[in-house]
Amino acid sequence: MTVFGWGVFKGMLVTLKNFATSYFRKPDEGGIFTVQYPEEREKTIENFRNFPFLVYDETPEKIRCVACGICERECPPKCIHIEMETDTAGKPARRPAVFDIDYGLCMNCGMCEEVCPFDSIFMDHAFEVTAVPISTNLNKTVLDQKKTKVSAERAEGLVRHKEKLLKSNEYFREIRPALASAIDQKRKAAEEKKRAIPPLRHNASDGPVLGRESTGGQAQPSATQEPK
């Protein structure tokens, strides 16, 4: 029907048109859309999830995590390791002494964020993650345990310890404003509720609690949080 080669010619016209118009069109409509990466960056999308991090409220000491271990248990590739802190008397202190995440194992699924009842672990936006030099990442004892430098690097290179994982709530608000403000509101409401409850309880069980007020007072608020 048509001249042999007409299809190829038409195809050439398409490529020619794309080549020419790419200089005039907007990037969104078929123009040049290359982003010169390290210098230029695209805006990150709020819901984008990468490796997890831990949120602290005002100071790194006020960590939200209570080392309940739910994320550790539910993590599909088992990349989280938690150990609870104990005080001098040997009682659990409801804060993590060790909180390690192996970024080499983590598959960015977001399960930990979903199951956390204390709003403490969230998925980060930082995607430029590299194995840090062992001197900064490892403490001396672990380094001594490893036989060679190479194996130590392999084993520990992408493991992030608690100190590296902790990030402030301000940072969280910056990367995910909508989610962070929703969670802030939720926590505020919960705190107000908590503040309203304790006097009532104190009156009801005044006698027996008196002797060990400090531990009882600490345990109670978190117990009211748990059944969410």
Partner: protein, 382 residues
């Protein structure tokens, strides 16, 4: 393989046996085939699987049901949402969970977008195999990027979506998301028009693809082939119509069929399928209702995945993934982990007719025949 030099055909001319892959750019992953050649003609072909075996099924049998969902993303990593869909349907069957209306619509919208992504990717890579080096692929990727940006906004990740949950979806589509999808859908036909102008009538493409790698309808049905490969052979079998899972029976769309079952038909059926997907999207975007996105009964299991224990029994759920019938077979013994978990991967089963299609063809054509089947090794080897 040690007997390479002894291989001879009837006329006593020696055959050449070569290994194709596993590290070959056109094998779409780590796929290897052992090809016996008589000159340039293929007279024997053996696919070799297993280089990307990751023990998916055994891992899944040691995980709670919800924790398997992110692993299913890694099966067919080009369109993770279809895998999520199939697995979610299976577990909902097993546990007897309903899905709210809005969630069903969201599922279909996302699954059809994933189908479009998959088809344009396949066509782009197939043309790469043909030697149309990267121009059509980059045109396709330009459009794909828009859909992937939307996926990132909705699901949190571009490829490993992990979006579906038992009894619903993870996150609602906002009005802004719906507007973005509408924009994609309205713009897509213009791109397809341009893409077809570039390719469909192109003489070089026609000469390379027509009457190459013919798969007869009979062989295809006997071998259990599904998906676009089967429909290109002229067999009208689409699980969206046959099984009408989810709410596909409410949409008006056609099943495009090929006539000869050659590589060209497989290419063209995919182009037509994108058009039908756009039709479904058009209808879904108009009809999507307001409401819940998660079944109330399933909500507590989001926070406590280990408490999710389906009753003792078995279920097989399947969807029409862009590559064919993707099915999950799960047996529950009442514990939080499945007792048996099996994946019916379309890529693996579609590969079984590769030899049939390649016999008598030139070695250069084997590459496009392999490309036209549309395999993903993550799914084949699991």
């Amino acid at each position: 393989m040690e007997q390479t030099m002894d291989l001879k055909n009837k006329d006593n001319t020696p055959l050449l046996e070569i290994n194709f892959g596993p590290q070959h750019p056109s094998t779409h992953g780590v796929f290897r085939m052992t090809v016996q050649l008589e000159g340039e003609k293929i007279c024997g072909l053996k696919p070799v699987f297993g280089y990307l075996h990751r023990n998916h099924e055994q891992i899944a049998e040691n995980l709670p049901y919800a924790a398997i969902m992110p692993y299913t993303d890694r099966l067919d990593y080009v369109n993770a949402l279809a895998n999520n869909f199939s697995y979610a349907i299976t577990i909902e069957k097993l546990a007897g969970l309903d899905v709210p209306e809005r969630a069903e619509y969201i599922r279909i919208i996302m699954a059809e977008l994933a189908r479009i992504v998959n088809h344009i990717t396949v066509i782009g890579f197939m043309l790469n195999d043909l030697g149309a080096f990267f121009t059509p692929l980059l045109y396709a990727f330009r459009e794909r990027e828009r859909i992937l940006d939307l996926f990132e906004e909705v699901t949190g990740s571009r490829l490993m979506n992990n979006y579906f949950r038992f009894g619903g979806v993870k996150r609602d589509l906002t009005d802004a998301n719906l507007a973005a999808i509408r924009k994609i859908v309205t713009r897509f036909p213009a791109f397809l028009e341009e893409f077809e102008n570039l390719l469909t009538k192109n003489e070089i493409l026609c000469m390379r693809c027509q009457n190459i790698g013919i798969l007869s309808a009979e062989t295809a049905t006997n071998a259990g082939i599904t998906g676009p490969v089967l429909r290109a052979s002229g067999v009208n079998y689409d699980i969206r119509k046959v099984d009408s899972y989810s709410i596909y029976n409410r949409f008006d769309f056609k099943i495009p069929l090929g006539q000869r079952g050659d590589v060209y038909d497989r290419y063209y059926v995919r182009i037509l399928e994108i058009r039908e997907s756009l039709k479904i999207l058009d209808q879904a975007l108009v009809r999507i209702p307001q409401g819940e996105i998660m079944n109330k009964k399933a909500l507590p299991f989001l926070k406590m995945p280990r408490n999710f224990k389906p009753p003792v029994g078995e279920a097989y759920g399947r969807v029409e993934s862009p590559k064919g019938e993707l099915g999950f077979y799960v047996v529950s013994d009442g514990t939080p982990q499945p007792w048996r978990y099996h994946v019916r991967a379309p890529s693996l089963i579609n590969l079984t007719v590769l030899e049939e299609m390649c016999l008598g063809q030139k070695i250069a054509d084997a590459i496009i025949i392999l490309g036209s089947i549309d395999i993903v090794l993550g799914e084949t080897d699991r």
